[in-house]
Symmetry: C2
Subunit: 112 residues, 2 copies
């Protein structure tokens, strides 16, 4: 399994901030520019711009020119990469449960 890979660091760290998660959510609609996003938060334009840059480096959003604006869109594949990693943990977990169940079963069998 691969728990390393520089991008998981960036993806999860990027998601570890409530403002950035909210930007991801809003950017699903894919219609707002950076300034419009910034209006939703109690911080400067530059701060929001930095958050967007973090999300962009993590591959969670992309920016696309549209006139003088840059529209921010969430890049769903980035989210899916994170989901897949969590899914693999779940599989490992289920595997462990199965092994424990098997162990208990065979023990019972032996004790019959």
């Amino acid at each position: 399994m691969q728990t390393t890979g520089p991008d998981f660091d960036r993806v999860f760290a990027a998601l570890g901030d409530a403002t950035r998660r909210d930007i991801v959510r809003r950017a699903i609609a894919g219609v707002e520019g950076v300034a419009e996003l910034a209006d939703h938060y109690p911080m400067s334009f530059a701060a929001v711009q930095k958050h967007v840059a973090v999300l962009e480096r993590a591959g969670l959003v992309t920016k696309q020119r549209s006139g003088r604006r840059k529209v921010v869109r969430t890049h769903v594949e980035g989210l899916r990469a994170a989901q897949r990693l969590l899914d693999r943990y779940e599989e490992l977990w289920r595997g462990r449960i199965d092994r424990m169940t098997a162990l208990i079963t065979t023990t019972k069998e032996r004790n019959k």
Copy 2:
């Protein structure tokens, strides 16, 4: 939708470090103590202990006394909370696609 809630901050931030993700993975087996975990990484015992504490605060692992050791186990519900949030983003994404598709369809209808 709720993207806030203090725990998502902690959960995702905790997962944003490769060492901690590896600890989560190893702790699925649920047999190693802190010292045993620490042997796997090129850092001090105290550093690993801090990582475990971060994971514990995020609700991703629990520690259980076993003799003089404390066995670290991953708490799968913490992982599932993160998964569910990502799932909701996916749903929003699909909803957007559906709406776009509907828009295109009705546009075509109108142009018939």
